[in-house]
C-alpha cells in the first residue's frame, strides 16, 4: 500500500482532520511529521494514497486548512 500524508500548520487542524476523516470511515493515523516534508506542525495525517480524492473532498467540506498533501511511499 502506498501512503500519503496531509500536512498542517497547526495541531488543531490535524486533529480536526483526523476526526472528519474517521467519521467518514477512512483509516487514517496521526504520525510525527516526516522531517523531509515540513517543520511546521508536529503531526501529519497518514492515509491510503488510493483514497486521496475522498480525503481532499472531506477535508474541504469540513473546512480544514492543510499545508499540502504528499505521497509518502510504502
Amino acid at each position: 500500500m502506498i501512503f500519503g500524508v496531509v500536512l498542517f500548520h497547526t495541531t488543531s487542524m490535524a486533529l480536526k482532520a483526523e476526526k472528519a476523516l474517521a467519521a467518514q470511515g477512512l483509516a487514517v493515523r496521526l504520525i510525527p511529521t516526516p522531517r523531509q516534508l515540513s517543520s511546521d506542525c508536529g503531526f501529519a495525517l497518514r492515509f491510503d494514497w488510493a483514497e486521496r480524492s475522498s480525503v481532499e473532498e472531506i477535508l474541504e467540506g469540513a473546512r480544514v486548512e492543510t499545508a499540502g498533501v504528499h505521497p509518502l511511499g510504502e
Partner: protein, 389 residues
C-alpha cells in the same frame, strides 16, 4: 469541615467542583502531560487530543461556528482584554452598559486614554438596560463594538442580549458578550443571540478550575485583523518570526494551561450530566427565589435587582439597615458557616447604577450543589443577624 459550610459564593467561583474535575487534572498530569502542539510524540499527542476535545465541547455549548475559533485564555478578564485590545484602535468607539464589571471597565478606561471613545448606556436602579437609551447611545456616532454584560455579578440582572445585539448589528457594530455569570447557567447560542464574541470563564458555571476561560470568535470577526494580546511560540509555522494567522494558535502564544483545560473538560461533562445550563440554571434560580422571598420577609433587609425572577440569574444582593456589609459577612462566616461575598464585587459601575456605591452589598450566589436546606439555614442566619441589629 466542608459538610458544615454553606457556600453561597458561586458567582465568585463555583465550589465544590465535581470530583471528576480534580481526577481529570491528575490523570492529565500523570499520563498525558506532553506539551500539546509542540512535539510529535505520544504524550504531546495525548495532551493535544484532550485540549481539542474540550475545544469541541466548548464550541458545542455555545453553538460556536468552529472549534478552532474557541481561544483558550486564563480567565474571562484575559478574554475581554484580548477582544477589546485586539479589535479597537485610536478613533474607534465602543459602547458598554451601566452594569459592567471592572474586567470590562478597566480595559475600556485604559483604551480611552489611547484615543478610543467609550460611551456607557444607562441601566435603571434594578440594573435593567434601557433599550431606547441604548439605541440612542449606539447610534450617536459610528460604533465599532458593543460590550454587553450578559448578567450582572451584583444583582443577577439579565441583559436583553438579542434585542441589544440587533440594535448593535443594525449600526454595523460587533457585539462582545461577557458571559462570566451566565456560561453554564443560561443556554447561550451565539448566532441566535446575534453576538460575535463571547468571553467566558471556566471556573464558575462551567465547573472547571481557575486558570481556564476563553474567547469565542464568531464568523463576522476577522481574526487576521485582530491584534493578539500575547505574541510568542505556538508550535506552528516555527520558521516565521511573525505571529501566525492560524486559529487558535494566533491568540494562544506560550504553553496553554492544558492541565486546567483537562479539568474544564470534566466540568463540562459534569454540567451536561446534570442536564446542562437549562436544568442547572433552573435549580439555581429556584434557590435564588427562595432566598429572595425569605430575605424580603426579614425586617430591615433591602434587596437589589429586579423583582421579577425571570429577569435574574441566581445572584441575590442585599443590605441590612444599621449594619455594615463587612460586619454581616463576617458574622455569616464566623457564627453560621455561611460564605458570602460583600462589598463592591469588582463592579463599582454596577453599584453606582443600583445606588449602593461605595458601601456595596452582601451577595448570595447558590450553585449546582446548593440545597434547599442550606438556603433555609442561610436565611435563618440572616434573620438572627438582622434581629440583633
Amino acid at each position: 469541615m466542608s459538610d458544615d459550610l454553606i457556600y453561597l459564593d458561586n458567582a465568585a467561583t463555583s465550589w465544590p467542583k465535581p470530583p471528576e474535575v480534580g481526577r481529570a487534572m491528575v490523570e492529565c498530569l500523570e499520563r498525558e502531560a506532553g506539551n500539546p502542539g509542540r512535539s510529535g510524540h505520544r504524550l504531546s499527542l495525548a495532551a493535544a487530543r484532550r485540549v481539542y476535545a474540550v475545544r469541541e465541547a466548548v464550541a458545542k455549548l455555545f453553538s460556536a461556528p468552529d472549534p478552532v475559533r474557541v481561544i483558550f485564555t486564563h480567565n474571562a478578564t484575559m478574554a475581554v482584554n484580548l477582544a477589546l485590545g485586539g479589535l479597537l484602535g485610536p478613533g474607534d468607539r465602543v459602547v458598554c452598559t451601566g452594569m459592567e464589571h471592572n474586567a470590562v471597565m478597566r480595559p475600556l478606561r485604559d483604551l480611552e486614554e489611547r484615543g478610543i471613545a467609550v460611551a456607557v448606556a444607562p441601566c435603571d436602579p434594578a440594573g435593567r438596560l434601557d433599550l431606547e437609551a441604548f439605541e440612542r447611545t449606539v447610534n450617536a456616532a459610528p460604533t465599532r463594538l458593543v460590550v454587553l454584560n450578559h448578567a450582572s455579578n451584583v444583582t443577577g440582572t439579565i441583559c436583553p442580549v438579542a434585542e441589544a445585539a440587533a440594535v448593535a448589528r443594525r449600526a454595523g457594530a460587533l457585539v462582545l458578550l461577557d458571559a462570566a455569570q451566565t456560561a453554564g447557567a443560561v443556554p447561550i447560542h451565539m448566532a441566535a443571540l446575534g453576538v460575535d464574541l463571547v468571553a467566558f470563564t471556566g471556573h464558575k458555571g462551567l465547573l472547571g478550575p481557575s486558570g481556564t476561560g476563553g474567547l469565542i470568535l464568531g464568523e463576522r470577526v476577522n481574526a487576521a485583523e485582530m491584534v493578539p494580546l500575547l505574541k510568542g511560540g505556538t508550535g506552528s509555522r516555527s520558521a516565521q518570526e511573525r505571529q501566525p494567522p492560524d486559529l487558535p494558535d494566533r491568540f494562544e502564544a506560550g504553553t496553554i494551561n492544558f492541565v486546567g483545560i483537562a479539568g474544564l473538560g470534566a466540568g463540562l461533562d459534569a454540567l451536561a450530566a446534570m442536564g446542562g445550563p437549562e436544568a442547572v440554571g433552573r435549580h439555581e434560580r429556584n434557590l435564588a427565589q427562595l432566598l429572595w422571598d425569605g430575605l424580603s420577609s426579614i425586617p430591615g433587609v433591602r434587596l437589589y435587582g429586579p423583582a421579577d425572577p425571570a429577569e435574574r440569574v441566581a445572584v441575590v444582593s442585599f443590605t441590612i439597615d444599621g449594619l455594615t456589609v463587612s460586619a454581616i459577612g463576617a458574622r455569616l462566616d464566623e457564627e453560621f458557616g455561611v460564605l458570602a461575598r460583600v462589598g463592591l464585587h469588582c463592579a463599582p459601575a454596577a453599584h453606582r447604577t443600583i445606588g449602593t456605591f461605595p458601601t456595596g452589598t452582601v451577595r448570595f450566589s447558590p450553585g449546582p450543589f446548593t440545597t434547599e436546606d442550606q438556603i433555609a439555614r442561610a436565611l435563618a442566619a440572616v434573620r438572627t443577624i438582622a434581629e440583633r441589629a
